[in-house]
């Protein structure tokens, strides 16, 4: 746009100074961007929760809060554990293969989706749009449930159903099985949710 010849030295200095400025601006931006991440207080509030399940009866479900979400601990009866077999054809993801890294930790990649067969731990949030399903442990025909209902959970918002291991039934709005959170046993009756041997 100008008739003057290009001053190479000036151009070099301009580019060098601009690069230095850009680096400076980048460094300056880091604290501001970092400050919007979860603070120490938020991270502390998300810490693991210890639960005593010594008094949990067979067939009973307890709910604790972890990271603002309900986590269910169910002591399954032998009948409830038996009901898990043979449902394969009715389930969308019977082997919990989908999104395994997100939903099913290694120690839960088994038919009962838990460390101990009788104690089931899952995050009680439906994988559809986030409502918390209701307990429907009684087998048999009931409202909104099929005649051959084996026991499990029913989400009241859009009717998705899950079995006693949190696996989602086919042809329902929810796409995925219930999430099994990281957890481990500190003793026979003490369970910690939010931390596991891997972490």
């Amino acid at each position: 746009m100008s008739e003057r010849p290009i001053d190479d030295d000036k151009r070099t200095w301009l580019i060098a100074a601009s690069c230095a400025g850009a680096v400076g601006a980048g460094f300056a931006a880091v604290p501001f961007v970092a400050s919007v991440q979860p603070s120490e207080r938020a991270r502390a509030a998300g810490a693991a929760v210890e639960v005593d399940i010594g008094t949990l009866q067979p067939g009973e479900r307890r709910t604790v809060e972890w990271r603002g979400k309900p986590v269910w601990i169910v002591r399954r009866t032998p009948q409830q554990l038996d009901s898990l077999q043979g449902l394969g054809a009715l389930l969308a993801d019977p082997d919990s293969a989908r999104k395994a890294d997100e939903l099913t930790p290694e120690y839960a990649r088994n038919p009962h989706r838990s460390i101990k067969p009788e104690v089931f731990v899952a995050v009680g949030i439906c994988s559809h749009l986030g409502c918390s399903p209701t307990e429907k442990f009684q087998p048999g025909a009931q409202a909104s449930l099929p005649d051959d209902w084996a026991g499990g959970f029913l989400c009241p918002c859009h009717g998705s159903t899950f079995d006693m291991a949190g696996r989602v039934y086919r042809n329902k709005p929810a796409p995925d099985n219930l999430e099994v959170p990281p957890h481990m046993y500190l003793s026979e009756s003490r369970l910690i949710i939010g931390a596991d041997k891997k972490a």
Binding site: V30, P31, F32, A34, S35, V36, Q37, S39, E40, R41
Partner: protein, 487 residues
């Protein structure tokens, strides 16, 4: 679609994009008018960096302020803890907080120096009076912003400082207590006050500030900047209509100002990282204690940038008002016998002086000292108490700045061409301004009080007598072209 410019067929994509924008928004026109073809005097010195530094600090305060508002809680039960949360738990929160608190003090350092430059070179004189007035309005808004911001951490100093200043408004006769109630939103400084000060500090005053800064820069660009020689560069233009002593703001002063910014940031960051409390002047020690409405700290002082005006407030005692009454009387006598203004004017001066002396409480003091106690007590002659005048004087000290363009009657603009003793007068003014500032940060004391009173008289004398002293002395001839040595 008339007058649409069309880019030539071999124009680059960037040029075509710019043409598209220019046809719809005056981007290139604005850039030329305010940057690449806006001519600023070529003899700017260091005093001229403080304007752009002030703009930098304003932007910094807004950005750090936004990030602080993400974590701060404007509730009297939660505020103090939320600030500690920012300092300890928010990632880099301590840095953002220190940037904001140091920035507040830096803003005042920069603005005071910026205003002093105007005193030095006459940048407030015609045709820049409105520019100066916008600047004074910015100064007032800045003080309001700092004051409302200081309440937010809800420390001891925050609380009691707010208490004292709001009570200043209560000193106004007749409407005072109701006014204070309106400001506080309650009978004492409390949660209601905190919430509304938060609203003022975060949005109301910043909006006003941004608007005033825009007006300030527009007014500047309309008349062009002054310079250290006080010479109007637009008076000498070349054949192309451009001022002979002007250089385009971009790239000369944009680059120059980047250098100034880098020096400023070195000093600023040194303070932020190594001394953010600055010996208790930037972050006062008492403010690390949560506000306690039942106990005032032993030593109350406003933040350093308010201390000169605070000194003047404290210095206004009954004794001071008597001295002022005497001065008013003296001034009236001088005006009547020396100025030869005619009998109507003389009568007016005598009446006005008489009224002022009564209002100042001078009449009351005079009558009491003569033993006429009964007369002295009558409400007609009582005048207002010194507490009220203290507030008035503090306000007047800021408001008198607005009148500077008309008080300054010097035939030359810049101090470079004024007699040497003008420089000494400026030095005395600056000395007393600093002295008032220092004394304002200290607890009251006998000698301190006297010096503050003298300082107050010097401050007001400097301005009120300026129409007289600025005309005295022999002035050096002002050059036609700016004095500039290539470097």
């Amino acid at each position: 679609m008339a007058d649409f410019k069309v880019a030539s067929t071999d124009a680059t994509l960037a040029e075509k994009l710019l043409t598209w924008v220019d046809n719809r928004f005056p981007a290139t026109k604005l850039f030329k008018e305010h940057m690449s073809e806006y001519y600023a005097p070529k003899n700017f010195n260091i005093w001229y960096v403080f304007g752009s530094l002030a703009l930098l600090v304003l932007v910094m305060q807004i950005v750090t302020g936004i990030f602080l508002t993400m974590h701060y809680k404007p509730d009297s039960a939660l505020a103090f803890a939320s600030v500690e949360y920012i300092m300890r738990d928010v990632p880099w929160g301590w840095l953002i907080r220190y940037l904001h608190s140091t920035g507040a003090s830096a803003f005042f350092v920069v603005v005071y120096l910026h205003m002093f430059r105007s005193l030095l070179y006459g940048s407030h004189r015609k045709p820049r009076e409105l520019l100066w007035i916008f600047g004074c309005a910015i100064f007032l808004c800045l003080m309001a912003e700092a004051f409302t911001g200081y309440l937010l951490p809800w420390g001891q100093m925050s609380y009691w400082g707010a208490q004292v200043i709001v009570n200043l408004f209560a000193a106004v006769p007749l409407v005072g207590p109701d006014l204070a109630l309106l400001i506080r939103g309650d009978y004492v400084v409390g949660d209601a006050t905190l919430n509304r000060f938060f609203a003022f500090h975060v949005i109301a005053v910043p909006l006003a500030l941004v608007g005033l800064v825009a007006a300030h820069i527009i007014a500047l660009h309309e008349v062009g900047s002054n310079n250290p020689d006080g010479v109007e560069i637009k008076a000498k233009t070349g054949s192309d209509g451009r001022p002979l002593d002007g250089i385009p703001f971009h790239p000369y002063y944009t680059v120059h100002d980047i250098y100034a910014v880098s020096v400023f940031l070195v000093i600023f960051c040194a303070i932020v990282f190594f001394a953010p409390e600055f010996g208790g002047y930037f972050l006062e020690y008492n403010n690390f204690i949560p506000a306690d409405p039942l106990q005032t700290p032993l030593h109350i002082a406003p933040v350093w940038y308010f201390t000169p005006y605070y000194s003047m407030l404290r210095a206004t005692t009954d004794q001071m008002m008597t001295v002022l009454s005497g001065l008013v009387g003296l001034a009236a006598v001088l005006a009547i016998f020396k100025a030869r203004l005619g009998s109507a004017a003389n009568l007016f001066i005598a009446a006005a002086a008489g009224l002022l002396i009564v209002l100042f409480g001078g009449a009351k003091t005079l009558l009491s000292s003569l033993g006429l106690v009964g007369l002295a007590q009558s409400w007609l002659l009582a005048g207002f108490e010194a507490k009220f005048w203290g507030v008035v004087i503090m306000g007047a000290a800021v408001l008198i700045l607005f009148f500077l363009p008309w008080l300054d009657q010097c035939p030359v603009k810049s101090i470079r061409y004024r007699p040497g003793w003008h420089k000494s007068l400026y030095a005395v003014f600056v000395f007393f301004f600093f002295a008032l500032g220092y004394l304002g940060s200290q607890p009251p004391s006998e000698p301190g009080n006297y010096v503050s009173q003298v300082g107050t008289l010097v401050y007001f004398g400097f301005f009120l007598l300026m129409p007289w002293w600025s005309r005295l002395g022999r002035f050096a001839p002002v050059p036609e072209r700016v004095t500039f040595a290539a470097h």
